[in-house]
Amino acid sequence: MKLKIAWLYRDLMSTYGDRGNIICLTQRCQIRHIDVEVKNITLETSVKELNKCDVIFMGGAQDRQQKLAGGDFLKNKGPVIKKMVEENIPSLFVCAAYQAVGHYYRPYKGADIPGPGILDLTTKHLGDQAKRLIGDISAEIINIKELNGKTIVGFENHGGRTSLGAKLKPFAKVIKGFGNNGEDGYEGAVYKNAIGSYFHGPILSKNPHLADWLIGCALEIKYQKDVELEPLDDELEWKAHDFMLKRL
């Protein structure tokens, strides 16, 4: 079996150790002898390359870099990803990417920054005096039937507050931390096989079940059959996971 991972804007949107997700996905495939190829999809890359991919990942960015990527994303890559997500391609958008896939991002000054509306959500920055939501975070997955009830751990660092559209489901229920807006107790969003999350950077490293869900899902969509992934020795992954769950 073979998988192609699209890594969006690795040179612009990979500020918080986001590469960890690509490393985890790649290695968890390779150990299972699944051929895996990572496609760097950046400003100059044609959308044809993107279209051939089976999994999508897009990470966090600084403001200037996000602006540099923003135009290309809105015009070129975004609409293609929207179509792919509609076709059930598993995707993971974290941090700045999570905000970028919504309808718009409203900064505290200046005009709204439009997004391609891949996920039905909007994000607002409440002003430069508003507290940034920063810290370790844990949550319980809801709305992904294979993973419901399982915990996830990570770190969040965002100024924007995200609200989901009426029909968009949250990804998880916050145990400790802030999540989407620090108010409603929910974290991230799930639509078909796409996940958006404020768990930034290497979200998959301490949450191997989530990594495997993306891989399994990608294989099932690509090969149109049930896929049972061979279990791996994840003792260390779970130790790191449980250590943070306990500490929080």
Binding site: D11, L12, S14, I23, R64, Q65, P202, S205, L236, K239
Partner: protein
């Protein structure tokens, strides 16, 4: 009148030293600033020659120590915040510690390393009379992603610096790294004299770019920069092929470094550029370097029970990669990694995934410890799993990663290792480095 303030500050300093509270570097200044927010202005007027400020993500402590040594070698008396306390309160504390009980400050130069975010606040606190030939030199070393949860992103810091430079008097001199695009750009259209330092040594180019780079797009037009060669992270010989913006020619580009590692070549060049800018003779600069000893935790060497130990503070991806490359070039075989997530380290440890642990040779058995020992072990696990193994040998047994939650036990294990002759290299984040020193030397800082 500031005399009572000085008395109080000095008392706090001695009490905290006697009680070993360990905050002697910041408390006296904190209290003094509360009582008189202008205290640094009052102190700085007393410096006879002037002030040198060193800012940047990596290399502040080493560079400021080098500058201090050169000035001392010239016979100057130097005030220096050598404890590494580099916020406003640390600088005020350094003054209080060295001023006499009667408020007399017999120092020619003040050399201060300054925190990235605090730079604007610190610089606005100094008062120098340029009509009396006093000097202000500011050194900007580099800007890398570092403790993003605390500092914010590098662009935000660069913007703060740009605004702060605008407020500086035209007599100030600015020393800039030509090879860091974001630092070089600080020198555009400013009224002060600028001296650039940078490396012209194609032999030191990396084979390919590292993953962790922050400034690889043109600050003028936004286009992707092209590099003739990269020394590390985004540091190299850069240009923009769209708008023609390019790396300025460095006036200082060659000097033997007293410490290993490409990053220390830059620290040395920055220091030499500063010294030359002050009119110090190059022969004198050379002499001053001959007996240079590193700052605490920065390639510092310690010997315990006949075991040689070298400590490398490694606190962000760019610095960590440089430390790794440096110790591997020295043939490191025994390595202890310590990762903490306290406030001085940054609470977020995500950055370890931007470090290229993949360069660790396969025969090394890494020992890991610290508050976030499992995160670090996991990162190293994923750097070794497939990497550098013969084809079709994915399931070969690996060299184990040795995990110690307890730092003392990790150190005991490493120091008592059977290979006494092998140097132990310790790469640690800030608070972890201090803890290591406390265990090995009985004290955290100096």
């Amino acid at each position: 009148m500031n005399l009572p303030l000085i008395l109080l500050g000095k008392l706090v300093f001695y009490i905290s030293r006697i009680l070993k509270i360990g905050s002697g570097g910041t408390w006296p200044g904190e209290i003094a600033l509360k009582l008189n927010p202008n205290i640094i202005r009052f102190f700085s007027v007393k410096l006879k020659k002037g002030v040198i400020i060193v800012a940047g993500t990596n290399g502040k402590t080493t560079t400021s120590l080098m500058i201090r040594n050169i000035l001392q070698h010239q016979g100057y008396e130097v005030l220096h915040n050598d404890s590494g306390a580099n916020l406003l309160n640390g600088i005020a504390s350094a003054f209080i510690q060295q001023i006499s009980w009667w408020g007399k400050l017999d120092r020619d130069w003040g050399v201060f390393e300054v925190d990235e975010n605090s730079f604007p606040a610190v610089i606005s606190n100094f008062s120098l009379d340029f009509s009396r030939d006093k000097q202000l030199v500011i050194v900007f070393l580099n800007l890398f992603r570092d403790q993003l949860d605390r500092y914010g992103e590098v662009d935000v810091i660069a913007e703060k610096w740009t605004n702060a430079i605008k407020m500086l008097p035209k007599e100030a001199k600015i020393i800039l790294n030509s090879d860091d695009p974001q630092i070089a750009y600080l020198g555009k259209n400013i009224k002060q004299k600028v001296v650039y330092f940078g490396l012209n040594n194609t032999k030191l180019f990396l084979d390919g770019p590292e993953h962790a780079t922050d400034s690889i797009f043109c600050l003028n037009c936004g286009n992707r920069l092209t590099y003739d060669g990269i020394y590390y992270s985004h540091i190299g010989i850069w240009k923009c092929e769209k708008c023609g913006e390019k790396r300025p020619n460095p006036q200082v580009s060659e000097w033997p470094s007293p410490l290993s590692g490409v990053y220390n070549r830059y620290n040395t060049l920055a220091c030499v550029a500063t010294a030359l800018c002050l009119g110090i003779d190059s022969e004198k600069i050379k002499e001053a370097f001959t007996d240079f000893l590193p700052a605490f935790g920065r390639q510092e060497e310690i010997e315990i029970h006949g075991k040689k130990i070298k400590i490398f503070l490694s606190k962000n991806p760019a610095g960590f990669n440089e430390s790794l490359r440096t110790i591997l070039s020295q043939g490191a075989e025994e390595i202890l990694f310590v990762l903490n997530d306290r406030i001085p380290d940054g609470r977020d440890v995500s950055w370890i995934w931007d470090v290229d642990f993949e360069m660790l040779p396969f025969y090394i058995t890494p020992v890991v410890s610290g508050d976030r020992v499992y995160d670090l072990a996991l990162r190293i696990k994923y750097s070794r799993q497939i990497h550098k193994l013969p084809e079709n040998a994915v399931n070969l047994p690996q060299r184990p990663i040795l995990i110690y939650e307890d730092l003392k036990k990790a150190l005991d294990f490493c120091i008592l290792s059977p290979k006494k002759e092998k140097t132990l290299f310790i790469l640690a984040t800030y608070s972890a480095m201090l803890e290591v020193r406390k265990i090995l030397k009985g004290r955290k800082i100096l």
